[in-house]
Amino acid sequence: MIFLRLFWEYFKVGLFSIGGGMATIPFLYDLSDKTGWFTHAQLADMLAVSESTPGAIGVNMATYVGYTTAGPWGALIATIGLVAPSIIVILLVARVLQQFRHNRFVEAGFYGLRPASTGLIAAAGVTVFMIALMDVDRYAQTKALGDLFHWKACLLAAAVLIFSDWVKPTKTWHPIVFIGISAVAGVVFHFAGV
């Protein structure tokens, strides 16, 4: 029963991802490994679309992954699964708001949780890095170091990094602008080689 499975998997994502939309990504890579519902490359594409469309990234990702897995109903079920733990936890917390904020154990737990969540996102970033900027398969065939990286993509990533982090006027641009420019660069310079 794909819908039940989808709901349950997404319920777990909602329950264990802490710190916003990006925190759901490591769970989705894990889901991809476990189920084969979608590939790592598809996931990177879905992330890009989720970032460039209205709505919270985590919700957009849930809808997209759900759709990819089981069509429009899958989209709905995955999204409900994602938000169900939030609703339950927040409704419980709302009753004991002040105690919750200042509880020693809650604070200590989050002290450990936050860096862990960051570590998981960083690890997911490495996976995306290998898909987007490297070509391990081709390297395995040719053993030529020049074939290990997608050089055009590496150049683009370096440019995006510089302009989105250090250059004054572009630093404040919305991420969508960079995604748009990157898409155009990909088409103009035939990034996928087709």
Binding site: S17, M22, S86, P115, A116, L120, G125, V128
Partner: protein, 180 residues
């Protein structure tokens, strides 16, 4: 009923206007919920937002549930959340259908190859931003590194890392209390 409908509409509007996730949502929340509708005070909003960041799930959804439940109880929480996710459901479902149909075209593949390079940088930026807030001393740095390497090198589900880190945080803090 009218109030529930208003809740749904207000959060659907927020869902459309929020680009790029929870962090982008705060200024919108302040304008829509605080200034225009007076559904919460500034302090309440900051509390909800702070708790929304450190409880499970997507920040935008957590904040919506909070404000909804404050207005109309449990039903209000659910209705506000439904409003928040409604635009995503519609927009993404339509887009996903279109993209699936054109994904075999050469220029689409080229475009996504370019976009993926950009996504690498954006995840990197997110890690830096979150790291500044979450890696505050040597111990949190160790937790970060252990989870980062553990997640790359093993096939363990992220769930285990999250649970272990929460326990580690509590033990470390307990130990600190005992020592002083």
């Amino acid at each position: 009923m009218k109030e529930l409908w208003e809740l749904f509409l207000a959060f659907a509007k927020l869902g459309v206007m929020t680009f790029g996730g929870g962090a982008a949502m705060l200024p919108m929340l302040q304008r829509e919920i605080l200034e225009k509708r007076h559904w919460a005070t500034e302090e309440e909003l900051m509390d909800y937002y702070a708790i929304g960041q450190c409880t499970p799930g997507v920040i935008a959804v957590n904040t919506a549930t909070f404000i909804g439940q404050k207005r109309k109880g449990v039903i209000g929480g659910i209705v506000a959340t439904a409003g928040m996710v409604f635009p995503s459901l519609v927009i993404i479902t339509i887009l996903a259908g279109i993209i699936t149909n054109i994904s075999s075209l050469g220029w689409v593949q080229n475009a996504f190859a370019g976009i993926r390079a950009c996504v690498v940088v954006q995840i990197f930026n997110a890690v830096i931003r979150l790291g500044k807030k979450s890696i505050v001393d040597k111990r949190t740095l160790v937790i970060f590194l252990v989870v980062f390497l553990g997640s790359i090198l093993t096939n363990l589900s992220p769930v285990w890392f999250v649970l272990a880190a929460a326990v580690a945080g509590i033990l470390l803090k307990q130990w600190e209390v005992k020592r002083t």
